[in-house]
């Protein structure tokens, strides 16, 4: 029977010959991702952990990234409890503050691999679909139960086929493409579904695929996944992952889809998601001239080297407009190092950017770069919900790194094609 990516992985992992959408199967995920929330997760099962232990010390991946370095005594205690848990149960995959944002770290460290199932107590766990991994978000309670049992149920999702054609015209980027897609699909257009990217994916590198997969959840998707091709394999070579350490799954030609869409990348223009929903997407022309108090380049959506370079290209030899401020967060330590080596960080700092530690930073409003009432921020993050950056009376606009950099130069939302 022809099958989709999700059906193939779930059939294999649940030891069924075939599975159908709607069927509930039991699986043992390869990894469980947690971040700063590992403290409240493990606190739910303190007694049981003492009695039964962690089912498998290789299962958890813990990355401290949400509030780093600790912003207060309370968040410091949170980190302290996690380090104690890690030591007590000999958790192998632990990444302390400064390593990077969990989703970037999982892929960079070769943990997010094709055909693996990774469940994470963070909604952007779907990012690893960029490299053909079956990954999705769960809640804290389920993460706690997984630490004890190592298994859970999953419903086999319906699938949506996104056929891409053409090529993006720089400075139009993968961020513009995914915002364009979400604007069309709407915030619930892919709810419960597995979104597969087909067609001209070979014009997108792993960094760009990451941006697309990362935002799958913003249209409600359970999975957001790319085929494993030479681009993926070359990426694995550069990070030292052996080709025989994973199994590749992909949909059959005649697999059944709930919905098939086609997007011509050559027609995509710079876009901006207006407050307060990610699907409130408009062409850059409608946003031009809106004054912004803060500009942010970074996060798990757009904190990779090519994103920092896209911003630096526009900012080189120029200054951030005095009416605004620019914050930059590399998504990981290794990206940070590379950006230092290539002079990207120097260019950004000279232009007036404030570089924040590799972490989630201002994205969720928990610390650093929070907004004041009446302020507007243009950001490369993935959410612009009311109150998201710490203040319900502030506005967040989402855009590509080039658009954010162009806006930092003028102090108003600007088209990167005109500023360049």
């Amino acid at each position: 029977m022809p099958a989709t990516f999700a059906e193939k992985v779930l059939a294999e992992k649940s030891k069924n010959d075939t599975v159908v959408p709607g069927q509930i199967v039991t699986v043992k995920p390869d990894h469980l991702l947690m971040h700063d929330n590992a403290a409240p997760i493990t606190a739910k099962i303190t007694k049981e952990l003492d009695e039964y232990g962690v089912v498998n010390p290789e299962l958890p991946i813990i990355v401290l990234d949400h509030v780093i370095p600790a912003a207060s005594e309370k968040t410091a205690i949170n980190h302290q409890k996690i380090r104690e848990f890690v030591n007590k149960f000999q958790i192998k995959n632990f990444f302390d503050i400064g390593c990077g944002i969990c989703h970037q770290v999982v892929v960079e460290k070769g943990l997010g691999l094709p055909g693996k199932i990774i469940l994470g107590s963070d909604s952007h766990t779907c990012s690893y679909g960029a490299v053909g991994c079956f990954s999705t978000g769960i809640d804290r309670t389920e993460a706690a139960a997984l630490l004890l049992t190592g298994e859970t149920w999953l419903k086999v999702p319906q699938s949506i086929k996104m056929a891409l054609k053409g090529k993006l015209n720089p400075p139009v980027s993968a961020k513009d493409l995914i915002l364009h897609i979400i604007g069309d699909m709407r915030a619930d257009g892919a709810t419960y579904c597995s979104v597969e990217y087909h067609g001209a994916v070979d014009s997108l590198d792993v960094q760009e695929r990451f941006t697309l997969a990362n935002m799958g959840v913003e249209m409600g998707a359970k999975l957001s996944v790319f085929p494993v091709d030479d681009i993926t394999k070359n990426y694995f070579n550069t990070i030292g992952v052996a080709q025989d350490s994973f199994e590749v799954f992909w949909a059959d030609q005649d697999a059944k889809y709930m919905l098939e869409k086609e997007y011509d990348m050559s027609e995509v223009e710079p876009v901006v998601a207006f407050p307060h929903t990610v699907d409130n997407v408009k062409n850059i022309y409608e946003a031009k001239g809106i004054p912004v108090n803060q500009c942010l380049v970074g996060t798990c959506t757009n904190g990779r080297l090519s994103d920092l370079e896209a911003a630096a290209k526009l900012l080189k030899g120029k200054k951030v407009h005095p009416n605004t401020r620019l914050l930059v967060l590399p998504a990981s330590k290794s990206i940070y190092e590379e950006a230092i080596e290539k002079g990207t960080i120097k260019t950004l700092v000279e232009a007036g950017a404030v570089i924040l530690p590799p972490g989630c930073g201002p994205c969720l409003g928990a610390h650093q770069g929070a907004l004041a009432p009446g302020e507007k921020c243009i950001s490369t993050a993935n959410r612009n919900f009311k109150g998201r950056m710490g203040c319900k009376d502030a506005e967040i606009y989402l855009a590509s790194p080039a658009t954010v950099a162009a806006s930092a130069l003028t102090g108003t939302i600007s088209d990167p094609r005109e500023v360049a």
């Binding site: 509930i24 700063d36 929330n37 409240p40 606190a43 739910k44 099962i45 049981e48 039964y52 949400h66 509030v67 207060s72 309370k74 968040t75 949170n78 994470g120 107590s121 963070d122 909604s123 766990t125 999705t136 978000g137 769960i138 809640d139 804290r140 309670t141 389920e142 706690a144 139960a145 004890l148 049992t149 149920w153 915030a187 619930d188 709810t191 419960y192 959840v217 409600g220 359970k222 929903t277 969720l364 409003g365 928990a366 929070a370 959410r383 919900f385 009311k386 109150g387 998201r388 710490g390 319900k392």
Partner: protein, 160 residues
């Protein structure tokens, strides 16, 4: 019993602002901030047995279970919505919070109808209209019957 009615895309930041995620951990710390940026009266006035009606994509956004814990602790009998976001749906199952996906029932409630809910019978009555909802699949019913996923897991471990 009061019905609280909200619109489409009630996201996790509206239900529980992200800025409290790493400073409020106990249920008593969570409750006062529930729906803070959506409806300041909710946490002050909500009573046990109240029902929430909402539009499409309720609970979209983060993997944030504080809203589910808070609604459950306040004794919300059910959230009736046109549709729910996936992680929120799963979190509700894991806490035993009742979610009813029924666009028809949401449309039938205009603000003044009498509402009653019989979970045993799987019946929701809005004014003079009756809506039925299907029973949970057995795998999920077992979690609900145990009183949530943690209780379910603890019982399962004890048996082994």
């Amino acid at each position: 019993m009061k019905v609280w009615k909200y619109g489409d895309s009630i996201n996790t930041d509206m239900l529980f602002p992200g800025k409290y995620c790493y400073t409020c951990s106990t249920i008593d710390e969570i409750k006062p901030h529930l729906l803070e940026d959506l409806d300041v009266n909710f946490a002050k006035e909500v009573q046990e047995g109240d029902i929430i009606f909402a539009g499409r994509n309720f609970g979209c956004g983060s993997s944030r279970e504080q809203p589910v814990l808070g609604l459950k602790a306040f004794g919300i009998k059910a959230v009736v919505a046109e549709s729910f976001a996936r992680i929120f749906y799963r979190a509700a199952i894991n806490q035993g919070l009742v979610l009813i996906e029924s666009p028809e029932a949401v449309k039938a409630y205009t603000g003044s109808e009498e509402v009653s809910l019989d979970l045993e019978k799987g019946e929701l009555i809005v004014g003079d209209k009756k809506f039925t909802f299907p029973p949970l699949p057995p795998e999920i019913k077992a979690i609900a019957e145990a009183g949530g996923l943690l209780e379910y897991t603890k019982k399962k471990l004890k048996k082994q």
